[in-house]
Amino acid sequence: MPTLAVHCRDVFKTYDTGDQKVVALRGVDLDIHTGRLMMLVGPSGCGKTTLISVIAGILDQDAGVCRVFGEDLTHLRQKERLRFRAQNIGFVFQAYNLLPTLTAAENAAIPLIINGLKRPEATRRAAAMLDRVGLGDRLGSLPAQLSGGQQQRVAIARALVHDPRLIVCDEPTSALDHETGHRVMELLKAIALDARKALVIVTHDARIFEFADGIAHMDDGHIIRLESREDLVGAGEPGAAPTAPAEPFASP
């Protein structure tokens, strides 16, 4: 039974750049349920990255509510918030952000070590996860020795190794060619998504929209349109034009 993983209501965020204020989010409403892959799409500067930063608890909104698995992270103390993030959220970044001096296995083991697991056990579990993403033979490789696709797979292993309930991905395929991007998305969907997990992906890459269970189109700090899988299947190519004002995405 799907449960509510992310619940955002009337979320505002403004950046103060010194001489001017930039409003990044202007009253965003969004619900994401477990077992679903939600994509946030829209032009550069529309607030996608700000929204996933708020959802992931690494940025505080100025107004509104954003709950992750029922927890309002802004109400948690710093230590509790860090623990919540360390245990419940996995990250996949556009630039992979692997530590260049650590091997694939050591990189993938980081979330487990942050969660207090001893290094040998963490590395063993990281190796098992790398095996699942097809890199069982590259455990000792440094990021520089891996291709872009392989590095992203290490990043996926790192995002999943501690079994988080929410996986947040920022442009996971933008640096990859079409075929590799597809393989990465297949992998993400296959091993990152189950009935108790939710996946949020920020992307510009229309080639991967087919993997979405729902797409939130953003522009100028708003969600201007929400499409479900049913809409996508029915309408063909998603995101052709803005339609109605944003409504919370209704899970089945």
């Binding site: 690494i58 940025l59 990250f91 530590l99 650590l102 070590i113 942050i114 933008s174």
Partner: protein
Amino acid sequence: MNYIALKMLMGDRGKYLGIVMGLTFASLIMTQQPAIFVGLMMRSYSFITDVGLPDIWVMDPKVQFIDDVKPLQDMKLFRVRGIEGVEWAMPLYKGLIKARLANGNFQTCNVIGLDDATLIGGPAVMLEGRLEDLRRGDAVIVDRDGAVEKLGMPGPDGKPKPLKVGDTLELNDRRAIVVGIAKTTRTFQSQPVIYTTYTRAMLYAPRERKLLSFILVKARPGQDLTELTRRIRRGTGLAAYTQKGFQKLTYDYFMQNTGIPINFGISVTLGFIVGAAIAGQTFYNFTMENLRQFGVLKAMGASNGTLLRMILLQATLVGAIGYGLGVGLTSLFGWAMRNTILAFKFPWQLLVYSGLGVTLICVFAALISIRKVIALEPAVVFKG
């Protein structure tokens, strides 16, 4: 997380070696120049240290340092011997006399006249001959450095030939025969030191009404030395210092009246600043280059405390290695220079001070870096 911190630090060999080299260089210049300074300053009172037996040095009240000899009347010796608590008091002559070498060259030497009977004040280590040989006619003992360097002469083959036992010199037109070679600590002026008896020194010295330079005093067992110096001052009108007190008087004179402290002070301060700048900048750059990685760790749930411990561990490690290598290089430098005229002394206090200096640099660099890391918004990781 310690393992990750170490891998971040050492994984990139080039950067890691760069930081270690920076700190090594900082430690080297923070210890090498002060070691030379300490060596130079210790030479200023090395003669007092070498004359180890007496507890108290008695002299004219106007004497400011060991080479500032203001002669006393001989009868002062007997007055000092009469002070309560004095076990024995012996005369010491110390003066600069020109020595004429066998090849006709002249060399100014430090001539030391020791009490004829006891030879108190003589060199502690004899390399050739015996101290008692001074009782032979025209006998003198020469320090090894003086014999090899300034008193050495070109041999028939043109190569320098050290002065040796059996060779002769002329001191003030009087013959002096070398009967021994002694090991002494170099003095500040690095002049050859020639030991002879007090009576014979009177013959070598230019005619003056007063020739007694110092009175060396041994206190009776159980005597309070500070109190005894007071009694000698009261009873004779002369200045009296314990050995340490006379060393300090000499040291203070050189500190206050020569350009050495300011010259070396500038050099040491510049060394510290340059060392601190290099090491601090290198470590700071290292952390800044890893800022994004720290941001990733922060986004994934690592606390500021964890990141702080990681940075401190990195700073401590490179600091310790750099310090060890720097101190090692300084010691190597000192060892390589041990037989040269260069003044070099590396006491444990200098190790402690330089260690504190390097720690200060590392902590400072780490603190600046930590400020950046703590202020770091983890959301930075979402920026491509």
